[in-house]
Amino acid sequence: MNEPGGGGSAIKLIGIGQSLRGDDGAGSAAIRLWQERYGKASDRPGLEVALAEAPGIGLLDMLEGARFAILVDAVRSDARPGTIHLLSADQLAAFTSGSGSAHGWGVAETLALGKQLMPGEMPGKLYLIGIEAGDVSLGESLSPEVELALAEAACLIEQLISKD
């Protein structure tokens, strides 16, 4: 069942971030915890799970065929590390900051480009679960505050999927 503007029938859960860059790997870590606690993705027909270290503009390809997408990513605002943010697609659109000079492609810029070019193929429903990052220097471990926040993020993932 496609919602208006939906690109397909799947629910896609996508973790974004470099696991070698400390808390930048929080998105993937939250999805792994969700898988441990709430069962295998394969038990849920129509749900696809993907982890992407640094998808850049490739995120558009990953979203193809999704009716509903949940992105889980590390974010930086002025909040305390480990704070969980839930952003709708509309709220995300406000964060295309600095795209004039940004060389790389952040999630917000990529989604804005997708909406501009192929509005009909973008997911009809999209949320970003943002986990406030602390330390993003090189290394594989998460900081303690972010580690503690993973349970809340995993719970939020489960709520979004089960309420759908």
Binding site: A54, G56, S77, H85, T96, S99, S101, G104
Partner: protein, 428 residues
């Protein structure tokens, strides 16, 4: 959450760069290009690791050019342990590299540099104006990523490369199925060249020393000797004797110079200038059609060289993918022996040099990685000095854009070196 939050930048933290231009009495006093550069840390990471981990580790240095890191590292380790790969493995590595050129060049040409040349703030605003153009760029990039995934197992940080070859041969049917889309990509690349020829490039030329790989029989991407426009030709093992890295206090990146303390320029323009005659016929014809011929000394026209290389690599990929048939073992067997070796390949952004020392257990005892962007830093700074006297006369915003545009024309690697760019012009 019951109130708005402010996230100034989502955490894609693959590197940061800043540029400071200091003025004194109305003239440029100091130019500081400050770069945060992860490869230096990777050299430390690799110490004590098993050699076979290296291609997967170094692939993570960059989301855009992981194949380059894998290809330079396996060649260095194969040299260290005296491993000889089969011709079939070499052909597949060349095809793998084509995939990376297609996705990386499509990204830079259409999404990173084009907005500068057509006066748009970003690819997003350009997409509003010329959706079909940006869609063409995205489709080109996608076929590159698709080929990369089919060979490497993943489209961003591939995992199929090992010292000695590939863990598995990719499925021949899956590779052959990509040929029709590659044929579309070749036509799109030819159109890219025609479109790019009509863009308005700033009038700026410098007397550069260009450095790239070179091979007698092919346009060197996967391997070769190192050739300079000064006429000097050296082997990969001699690289560090001729191209020196020095620590610069203000930057985490090392800056490279030639033996005579000169700057040099690596990348598509260097390859085009030094290897023009080795381009595939179709790519050379494309260049001839728009009157683009070496030597080119305008860094902004690196975009045209990239577009020509898109024609070259799509055409080569069609041939290599079309004739691909797995034959023999996908990787050669060898004994782990201690040794030291160098590997050099042409990343989309230019010469990428690796050197490793391996001990008798196969553990890495020393690693050196010299990425192309680090080699271009000194040249980029020299170019900034050259445009600065004119640029600082412009209003602040236009001046910023002029400096950024120049730096972007070098296609500094997003992950390897730079996440652009906070500009400060200080007046005293």
């Amino acid at each position: 959450m019951n109130q708005d939050i402010h996230i100034p930048a989502l955490a894609r933290v693959e590197g940061e760069g800043a540029l400071t231009i200091r003025l004194k009495d109305g003239a440029v006093d100091e130019i500081l290009l400050n770069i945060y550069e992860p490869p230096r840390f990777f050299e430390g990471f690799l110490h004590g690791r098993y050699f076979q981990d290296v291609p997967d580790f170094t692939a993570r240095i960059c989301g855009i050019c992981p194949v380059a890191y894998q290809m330079s590292s396996v060649q260095a380790l194969e040299a260290a342990m005296q491993v000889t790969i089969t011709p079939e493995i070499r052909l597949l590595r060349r095809l793998f590299y084509c995939a990376e050129y297609i996705e990386s060049h499509a990204l830079h040409v259409y999404l990173l540099q084009a907005p500068d040349l057509v006066g748009h703030e970003s690819a997003i605003t350009l997409a509003a104006d010329a959706p079909d153009l940006v869609k063409r760029g995205l489709r080109l990039k996608k076929i590159g990523n698709e080929l990369l995934r089919t060979i490497g197992g993943r489209s961003i940080h591939p995992v199929n490369t090992c010292v000695g070859g590939f863990y598995h041969w990719p499925d021949a049917g899956a590779i052959h199925d990509l040929v029709p889309e590659l044929e579309w990509a070749r036509q799109a690349s030819i159109e890219t060249v025609r479109w790019a020829a009509g863009l308005n490039y700033p009038d700026f030329e410098q007397d550069y020393e260009f450095v790239s790989l070179n091979r007698i029989e092919e346009y060197a991407i996967y391997d070769g000797d190192i050739l300079s426009s000064s006429g000097k030709r050296i082997t990969p093992a001699e690289f560090e004797k001729h191209y020196l890295e020095t620590q610069v206090e203000r930057s985490n990146a090392l800056h490279s110079h030639t033996l005579g303390n000169g700057t040099y320029f690596v990348g598509p323009l260097a390859r085009f200038n030094l290897n023009y005659k080795k381009l595939r016929t179709m790519a050379r014809e494309s260049a001839r059609e728009i009157g683009f011929k070496p030597p080119v000394h305008n860094p902004y026209k690196g975009l045209l060289a990239r577009a020509i290389e898109l024609v070259h690599t799509t055409d080569l990929a069609i041939e290599l993918a079309g004739s691909y048939q797995p034959q023999g073992a996908s990787h050669v067997e060898f004994d782990v022996i201690p040794g030291e070796g160098c590997g050099v390949s042409e990343a989309p952004r230019g010469v990428l040099y690796h050197r490793y020392i391996v001990d008798e257990q196969g553990l890495i005892r020393f690693a050196r990685i010299t990425p192309p962007t680090a080699q271009n830093f000194a040249q980029m700074e020299a170019d900034l000095w050259a445009i600065a006297p004119t640029a600082i006369k412009l209003p602040q915003e236009e001046a910023s854009l002029a400096f950024e545009h120049l730096l972007r024309s070098y296609d500094p690697c997003i992950s390897c070196s730079v996440h652009f760019l906070e500009l400060r012009i200080e007046k005293r």
